[in-house]
Amino acid sequence: MSFDLREHTADVAVEATGPDLDAAFAAVADGLAAAMCEDVPDDGERFSLSVSAESREALLFDYLDELIYERDVRGVLPVDNEATVSRDGDEWTCEATARGVPLDAITAREIKAVTYSEMDLAETDEGWHAYVVFDV
């Protein structure tokens, strides 16, 4: 799994790939962290989160929104993300964990929110491809 930060006039975009959906989700989340902070120390406790949504794309949106929410409420930057995506009929669920690096220990910039603009989440020959624009 890997991610790249892509050009966007005002905001920032993350392009990510992974062999499966789990890896692609986690890679976008790691891209979100990288867009906020370039130099992340090794400390911080892991925490878990769980989100459910009505579609695969909506689940990715809600997962990233939840990470931003946890960042503000816990005062930590979620890094080293792991995600497990499952489907039960019309309901999609993401069970995830992240290491929360205390914000007061780092210099980080704020990403305000996740957007649907130009969002892509598609299966490719190599696995999954995701593209997400974040509001800075």
Partner: protein, 487 residues
């Protein structure tokens, strides 16, 4: 007819600085770009024009969707976009307001001159930076509980007045007196309130900043006099919004509307434009929640301004009243408001005027302009980049006919953040600004300074020139940075 071909989108010249994209396909109205050819050449570089066309697909959009001279690509709806959408048979779209509800600008005047500050810039910038929360996780001027958040959401600046963070005069010089009566705190999720609790009175990061500036030019003396502005005077400009609370309000309603109004969404070319039909429960709920977030943002800027007064008191050893540190005006630039405007066929309609990265610019006489400025037009504050001037304008006579009473909100970005970091090094930018322009910058992150380097922005002078030439926002005064703090 003169046309401008922008990579598959043809614009027809209506007259100087006014370009039209004709209505076609699923568009419910034509779209207009207000720009000089020089600005249009920049605007066509990214997806601004496509996003503008997309925004004209929103049901009930009246007259035309408009891109201001500083327009650039955003998400869904372009930044610098204005759409007047019918409040009876149209819709309201959180994405067309933006995540940072009531992101805006306020300016405070003083009776200090540049001479009083020269030689003390370092002390001032350090004091401001230490006392005004900024950056990610930097906390707020006050830490609040749920009850206080509810009160801020419901009452806006009136809460700040009661709590001792404002004086009556501050309210009289704020858009809507710092209070949206339609605010409904119950429509703001617990998640949003949780995020807002420890951020009341904080700048955040990105392009938000606080700047001490000096007035360099006055273009309309009579209006400048009404605004209390004169050459060489020190003023303070504060640019920030509703922080995590507002971002969460937008996110929450975008998702709810997506699920409840799939039919309308299917007619729109971008999911980020998701809109609630006028009259629906979600339209009403979002409006109440957005108005509450608007109130929060006004309180946020008020607390930062109050703290700035305290810092000046310490540095200059005078009371803020002695230094006449008075609020000139506070304007929102991410907002949707119910306003009555004249539309096609001369009909008066109530509209949800969506302004995303655009400033209200009402001329003299319009009832919403506070009594202090009703004879001259509302003040408009247009921040430039760290190394360029900012401008104070007043609402122009033509704004109601051209733009639903709106004008630009800033310089507008030209270069992506990733490219900016490759081209600039934060420390170099800071040192150059100090050595060449006597501007003192202090930021949490060098990367932020690089991302916000003067070279990444459009020419604010040209943006303001076009606004003035169109008569939508008239040039009153120009200011230039002295000290700048950011997240």
């Amino acid at each position: 007819m003169t046309t401008y071909d922008a990579d598959g989108i043809t614009l027809e010249k209506v007259r100087d600085y006014v370009w039209e994209i004709p209505q076609e396909g699923g568009m419910n109205a034509p779209a207009r770009v207000l720009a000089s050819e020089a600005l249009l050449e920049e605007i066509e570089q990214d997806k601004t024009l496509q996003q503008l066309k997309n925004s004209a697909h929103l049901p009930g959009v009246r007259k035309h969707a408009i891109c201001m001279p500083d327009g650039h690509q955003g998400y869904g709806f372009p930044v610098g976009g204005v759409a007047g959408i019918d409040a009876e048979d149209g819709c309201i779209s959180p994405g067309a307001v933006g995540y940072d509800v009531n992101c805006g600008v306020r300016m405070m005047t003083t009776n200090l001159s540049y001479d009083d500050v020269q030689g003390r810039e370092e002390e001032l910038v350090n004091n401001l930076f230490e006392n005004i929360p900024s950056g990610l996780g930097g906390g707020g001027v006050v830490e609040t509980g749920m009850d206080t958040i509810e009160a801020i959401l419901e009452r806006g600046m009136d809460w700040a007045l009661e709590a001792g963070w404002a004086v009556e005069d501050d309210l009289a010089h704020c858009e809507d007196e710092g209070f949206r009566p339609e605010a409904d705190a119950d429509k703001v999720s617990k998640k949003a309130k949780d995020r807002g609790k420890n951020q009341v009175g904080s700048l955040g990061s990105g392009n938000h900043f606080l700047e001490v500036q000096r007035v360099t030019d006055v273009y309309r003396e009579d209006v400048a006099d009404s605004f209390g502005l004169e050459p060489d005077q020190i003023v303070v400009l504060i640019h920030c919004g509703s922080r995590g609370l507002g971002h969460q309000v937008c996110t929450d309603y975008l998702r709810e509307i997506e699920q409840a109004h799939q039919g309308m969404l299917n007619q729109l070319p971008d999911k980020e434009l998701a809109a609630a039909p006028a009259g629906s429960q979600l339209a009403e709920d979002y409006y109440g929640a957005m108005c509450a977030a608007i109130n929060y943002a006004w309180v946020n800027r008020q607390l930062i301004m109050h703290r700035t007064r305290q810092v000046f008191e310490r540095v200059f050893d005078q009371s803020w009243q002695e230094m006449e540190m008075d609020l000139l005006y506070d304007v929102a630039h991410n907002i949707a408001k119910k306003e009555v405007h004249t539309v096609e066929g001369g009909e008066e309609r109530e509209l949800f005027v969506h302004r995303k990265g655009a400033t209200r610019a009402f001329p003299a006489g319009r009832e919403e302009v506070p009594p202090a400025y009703n004879d001259v037009g509302q003040p408009i504050i247009i921040p430039g980049s760290m190394g360029a001037g900012s401008y104070v304008l007043r609402g122009g006579e033509n704004s109601l006919a051209e733009t639903f009473g709106s004008t630009a909100h800033g310089a507008g970005r030209l270069m992506s953040r990733t490219q900016a970091k490759n081209e600039y090094w934060g420390e170099d930018v800071r040192d150059e600004l100090r050595e060449q322009n006597q501007i003192y910058v202090k930021a949490n992150s060098g990367a932020t300074v690089a991302e916000e380097a003067p070279g990444v922005y459009k020419d604010v002078d040209e943006v303001v020139r076009v606004s003035d030439a169109l008569g939508i926002g008239d040039k009153v005064a120009r200011t230039f940075p002295v000290c700048n703090i950011k997240g």
